[in-house]
Amino acid sequence: MTNGKPVSIIMIEDDEGHARLIEKNIRRAGVSNEIIPFANGTDALDYLFGPDGSGAVSAGRQLLILLDLNLPDMGGVDILEKVKANTHTRRSPVVVLTTTDDSREIQRCYDLGANVYITKPVDYDGFANAIRQLGLFFSVIQVPETP
């Protein structure tokens, strides 16, 4: 990415196949940043906020979060809420990537501070296209260092 500091992409996605397809398409778009995958919310929250839950572990990190809303152990919305409420992580861009296009849910995510909401299309060309464009988007956006 732009300022030379490595931006880590946190991918919280319980479906391994989706995770693999997302990764493939991001790489295809020429984005080579580190992708850290999490298959459930608990592990992702542990990584983001540390064992004490304060979020201090994220200080100094540059994070971009890819978030699926339907996780087995908790709602993705809860994770979004926590990320946007924590001083250390609230400036990290969050891209919500999910299969539902329920307008109320989309609204709720933006209200909670989601930066982008993308519905995963079922047809693969659309899916691959969306992810590749997301990759292009990643390559130009500025991600602040978490305080």
Binding site: D15, E16, G17, H18, R20, L21, K24, A39, N40, T42, N70, P72, D73, M74, G75, D78, T99, T100, D102, K120, P121, V122, D123, Y124, D125, F127, A128
Partner: protein, 498 residues
């Protein structure tokens, strides 16, 4: 005793009819007794008239005799005065007596004799007076001496006194009869009045009871009305809840089915792409470069295998989801059998099935406190509900302490049964309290196997039984599931259909 409308109408009509009959009898009796009284009064009057007429007649005859004697002694006309006066009134007096006696048949034979004797007496008196006037005192005196006059007079006196006596007897009898009649009249009136009062009392009692029952019935209807509103409200709440659940279910199902579909389509397209290097390698044949060979091998051995693996796991996942949906939908359609279930024994059995896992450690175990011995419900559903909840309590234990589970049953208001399953396991975060009941959703660390079906299934079954399930939990401390069930499934379904 409840009074039906028909009984009320019949009894009131009957009482009215009886009352009218009594009234008619009283009026008839009174009329009859009054008539009798009048008749007796007439008899009294008649007897009196006979009595006075015969007494007057006797005195008149005596007056005539007195005048005759005085004239015989003095031959002075002035002494004859009583005689002439008596003779002039005698005819009238005789008519009076005959008229009065016409109402008193018993005296007829005496009256015949009196008439004869009177004629002869008056003739004897007239003969002596005539003889005296002509100066033949001797003849007159001889006539008197013959005793005919005295004998006639004695007969007359006796007969007239007999008439007086008869009429007096008659008088007494008539007065007695009148007294009896008026006594009867009084008693008839009193008894009739008592009867009518009794009828009126009975009618009043029926009317008051009936009115009281009407008021009670109306009050009951009002209470039912209020209950009805409450029931409509509950039913509406349940429908709204069920509707929301159906929407949520449809949402989850479409989302969860779409996720593997994305994988299948994605990896199928990826497969197509993977065949390009293989295709190129095959095309090149012997002239293939080592790079081409490596790329083809890489694609064939690694990428294709990966893609096929994902496609296979995705189809398997879809199949699993469809099976789970089918299971829940079948559960919703299964015919429930309401039977009397020994709830305490059922819980003991369910607890026994998992007991070895709970009591393997020190201090661990399942405590059962059954206060509801029996419930009328579907045994199979209850078995599955208890089994699922107890399994969960053991599966989601807190690893750092021995498992302790408490099962309590107790009776709530209106007989509803509450079953509580409390554990000291890892607990559920407050934000997930609703989520745990949703299909394919789980809570907390995913360190145990599971599909996220159990609690969704339990909730479907509990609701099919007419009850509900709630959760109370604190993360890290433990969880309590509370199942509330109607005491009688058959009665509940009847009232739900009503």
């Amino acid at each position: 005793m409840p009074i039906s409308q028909a009984f009320f109408q019949r009894s009131n009509a009957l009482l009215l009819a009886v009352g009218i009959a009594v009234l008619v009898v009283i009026v008839a009796t009174s009329l009859w007794l009054t008539a009798a009284s009048e008749r007796y009064f007439g008899e009294v009057t008649a007897a009196r008239a006979v009595r006075s007429a015969s007494a007057d007649l006797l005195s008149l005859v005596q007056d005539a005799e007195t005048g005759q004697r005085g004239f015989l002694l003095t031959r002075d006309e002035s002494y004859l005065e009583p005689y002439t006066a008596a003779v002039s009134r005698l005819a009238d007096q005789r008519v009076r007596l005959e008229q009065a006696a016409a109402r008193l048949r018993e005296v007829d034979p005496i009256l015949q004799r009196v008439t004869g004797a009177l004629d002869r007496k008056m003739a004897e008196l007239a003969a002596t007076v005539q003889a005296t006037r002509q100066g033949d005192v001797e003849a007159a005196t001889a006539l008197v001496r013959s005793g005919t006059g005295k004998r006639l007079m004695d007969e007359l006196r006796a007969d007239l006194n007999a008439i007086v006596a008869t009429s007096e007897t008659e008088l007494r009898e008539a007065i007695d009869a009148q007294l009896t009649a008026s006594n009867r009249l009084r008693w008839t009136t009193i008894i009739g009045a008592v009867l009518i009062l009794a009828m009126a009392g009975a009618a009043s009692w029926t009317i008051i009871s009936y009115t009281r029952e009407l008021v009670a019935a109306r009050r009951e209807v009002e209470v039912l009305n209020i209950g009805l509103e409450e029931r409509v409200r509950q039913r509406t709440d349940a429908l709204v809840k069920a509707n929301e659940e159906v929407q949520r279910f449809a949402y989850i199902v479409t989302h969860d089915l779409r996720a593997p579909l994305v994988n299948i389509m994605g990896f199928t397209s990826e497969l197509e792409a993977m065949f390009k290097p293989i295709d190129a390698y095959v095309e090149a044949g012997a002239a293939a470069s080592p790079e081409q060979k490596a790329a083809a091998e890489e694609a064939l051995r690694v990428d294709v295998a990966e893609a096929i693996g994902f496609i296979r796991s995705s189809t398997r996942k879809m199949d699993g989801l469809i099976n789970a949906i089918l299971k829940i939908s079948r559960e919703g359609r299964r015919e429930l059998r309401a039977e009397s279930v020994d709830l305490a024994a059922l819980i003991e059995t369910a607890a026994g099935a998992v007991h070895h896992q709970a009591s393997a450690e020190e201090d661990g175990g399942i405590a059962v406190d059954s206060q509801v011995p029996r419930i009328v419900s579907d045994r199979l559903s209850l078995d599955q509900i208890m089994g699922n909840l107890l399994d969960n309590a053991i599966k989601y234990r807190a690893p750092d302490r021995p498992i302790r589970i408490a099962v309590r049953t107790r009776r709530e208001r209106r007989g509803w049964v509450t079953i509580e399953i409390e554990d000291n396991g890892r607990g559920i975060a407050a934000s997930d309290h609703e989520r745990v009941f949703e299909l394919f959703r789980r809570s907390g660390a995913q360190n145990t196997a599971g599909e996220g079906i159990g609690l969704a299934h339990v909730r479907t079954m509990v609701r099919n039984l007419g009850g509900d399930i709630a959760v109370r939990s604190e993360l890290g401390k433990g969880t309590t599931f509370t199942v509330t069930l109607p005491p009688d499934l058959a009665a509940y379904r009847r009232s739900a259909e009503a």
